[in-house]
Symmetry: C2
Subunit: 460 residues, 2 copies
């Protein structure tokens, strides 16, 4: 299997080359110190696969592999590594290996590589670059983090409005430093302001004497260099853009962003939302035990406070529970159902805010819907739990208390699940990060208070 | 503000044109039945924005707007609508409006538009197409759902290996039916098997007499037509691909997939995982109250069973709780902490499985890490809650019981959080969908059992 994959990587049915058998073969070669089998095994892999490989093996195996590979390490592998592993690998690489690896990279990849590094490591990488590249990277780093200016590439193809297709083609044939990938020629006025975009396919399909201005698209979006990268990714996704010129405050062309960069940002920000909703920090699978423990601690600490608050509510009803111990048995049900319904509601709201689907125009409609859905499911589950409670403990009034508490808590869960994210967003707090704690507090407190309070009123 | 945005949509600082004021203006025009102001307000909007607009307004406003707009509705708006709203709009549109709208679309957009529709509506749209387009759409529909064959476009530019740059350019100049967007010429052998990809930029930068075979990339991936669309999206993201030829079982070229299609799939599958992790079905913000209630019911029903299981555990300890009512006050804390730690763990595992980062090569390392993180946070929170419990109720043994139960439950949460998703994946069940219920059951049962059981042993 491995051999046929090596010969024909592109026609494998599996989208992914790096299977466990392949990894085992690579580790065998490393253990035996065999460089040429190692190189043969790495050859069909994309730098992203090699980065995945490094992430999947142990720290010791990683060092052995990198030592054996030496300056044959592809610089692109560094770009593909997760942040925490990249720092480890950079610390380990000898200076000459680093220099060779980094000089292979495009400057926008270098920016991406170093922007999250500590200053000492940044200096190390910058020092390894040629002068012209170093200046380009340093200029990109002047833009604030997570903006279009950091994301864009500076190398691009532009043409003045008066050029013809023939002139444009001749110009490109004369250039020996064209960008590796580009899809449009950006047409600019004498002040370097973009006035149109001529797709390559359209240029090639036109006669040499056609004016660029005739075939260019003038209905296109430019991106301000200071726009946040999440907004950039949003625009690419929403408007099906493939590339867009980036402009400075004076509308002058300073770079270009292509869809592959936007795809990376979009992927990262969905990943970030998933993690934040689960109370995870910015962790990756390669983080060590200590740093993972530290990253997960704060969310658990918040939850500890939340659950102590719930306990304080329960403590108010100690004498009620002492009188009817069935209440202690049943009380987690209402709170837990509220927590789940609240999570459903808040996840819808958090994602709708992130995808700009929840706006001033429909906020009341969404709140109304969540309220009604909470009420409807509240009634359905009230009937279910009311019957169960009645028969379990042979007490119809206990069933009634359960049912009333259930309706109230699912209703509150629906409302809180949508209001809290909206309110956090208005305060400038990331709703994905903080909504869960608030909503669970509300549903726990209301769940226990409603159930035990109604029991104290109706059952004692 | 609205007016300046209308004049210069492309230089707005905001990535998004559709603000509340703009929506209000549009609804004003609709209410007054003014067609030309409506058209002027819609003109700067992208079809995706108009779809968002339709999603944000009420059903009544939607009907009024569509009636006023009539056959001026852009067909692309239909492609951009969410599934549930698309069905509503298609039911409402008169046949002649539908015909005009659908005939504007590229065939791959029509496939995307109709694949989730009911048969009657599918027939309606197919009937509106011209014969040649209808055949193309019907052929695409022969591929199974969610495969590369459904995602690809059939219109592409290919060239035989012996062609020169000049011949390729002349061929394109003669064609009047080139794809709207394409980035490569696919070079094929006489049996139509792709042997290389020549990027347009590289063709344009080469002299006319250069052979295509000299400048083409021969290191590229082809995508089997039956590959799942999630694997396609994964490959585009992992390997930074921009376009890729799709081949049939005989390796013959049948279509091409571009990065913008892959971006849509990637976005949708992340969104799906977020929703499934929160116990949400395939719902959208425009679903009605009844269908939303119905979609959320099953997850809440599963949670009801889970929490009744937990109650059954508590019921075993009724006499213990009767003796020490403080146990009822404190018992939700341990269960809740376990639930949260388990959610952290399972989210990491579910995402690592989805991004193919959790494999046979590192599964034991990840299990070991989650176990140790669970143990470490267990010890930290055991100390905290042990001290709190001791002082709150003035009973050191109660603190010891809390602490021991906390360590045990967070340890179990870490292990279950990673083992359960792996085990579900092996059984062919989507781990994003089902892990939450299983992990919470485990942490609830263990949490209550450990705390109350230890209390029965040590405190009575």
């Amino acid at each position: 299997m491995t051999e046929s994959k090596l010969e024909n990587p592109e026609i494998s049915d599996d989208a992914y080359l790096l299977n466990a058998a392949h990894v085992a073969d690579i580790l065998d070669a490393v253990q035996n110190g065999q460089l040429s089998p190692l190189e043969a095994l790495l050859e069909p892999l994309h730098p992203a696969d090699i980065a995945d490989l490094l992430e999947q093996i142990s720290a010791g195996e990683r060092e052995a592999l990198l030592t054996l590979l030496g300056d044959r390490l592809d610089g692109d592998v560094l770009s593909e590594l997760s942040d925490s592993l990249r720092e480890e690998v950079l610390d380990f690489l000898p200076n000459d290996v680093l220099t060779i690896a980094v000089r292979e990279l495009e400057t926008d990849d270098v920016v991406d590589l170093i922007e999250d590094l500590e200053e000492a490591q940044q200096g190390l990488v910058l020092g390894a670059l040629e002068d012209a590249d170093r200046v380009a990277v340093e200029q990109a780093l002047l833009y604030p983090e997570e903006t279009a200016g950091r994301l864009m590439q500076r190398k691009l193809v532009m043409a003045p409005t008066h050029w013809t297709v023939g002139q444009t083609i001749d110009y490109m044939r004369d250039q020996d430093d064209l960008p590796e990938q580009f899809y449009d020629v950006i047409v600019v006025d004498p002040r370097l302001r973009p006035v149109g975009k001529a797709p390559l396919g359209r240029i090639m399909a036109s006669r040499r004497d056609t004016a660029l201005s005739e075939i260019m698209e003038d209905d296109f979006r430019t991106i301000p260099a200071l726009q946040s990268e999440e907004d950039v990714a949003y625009a690419f996704n929403q408007y099906h853009m493939v590339s867009a010129p980036v402009v400075d405050a004076n509308d002058r062309l300073v770079g270009v962003i292509t869809i592959d960069d936007a795809m990376v940002v979009l992927d990262e920000s969905a990943e970030e939302d998933i993690k934040r909703l689960a109370g995870l920090g910015d962790e990756s699978l390669t983080d060590r035990v200590i740093s993972t423990t530290r990253r997960r601690f704060p969310w658990l600490a918040v939850n500890l406070v939340t659950s102590i608050l719930a306990s304080l509510v329960i403590a108010q009803f100690s004498s009620t529970i002492e009188a009817i111990v069935a209440l202690a048995v049943l009380m987690p049900i209402v709170a837990s159902m509220g927590g789940n319904a609240g999570t459903q509601s808040l996840t819808v709201a958090v994602r709708a805010i992130a995808t700009k689907d929840l706006t001033g125009s429909n906020v009341w409609r969404v709140i109304r819907r969540e309220t009604l859905v909470g009420l409807a499911n509240g009634i359905l589950f009230a009937i279910l739990i009311g019957v169960i409670g009645t028969f379990w403990f042979g007490d119809a009034w206990l069933g009634v208390v359960l049912a009333m508490a259930m309706i109230l808590n699912l209703l509150v869960a629906g409302v809180a699940g949508v209001l809290i994210p909206i309110w956090l967003e208005k305060l400038g707090i990331d709703p994905a990060l903080a909504s869960g704690a608030f909503v669970t507090t509300v549903t726990d407190v209301v769940g226990f208070f409603a159930f035990l309070g109604l029991a104290a009123l109706l059952l004692l």
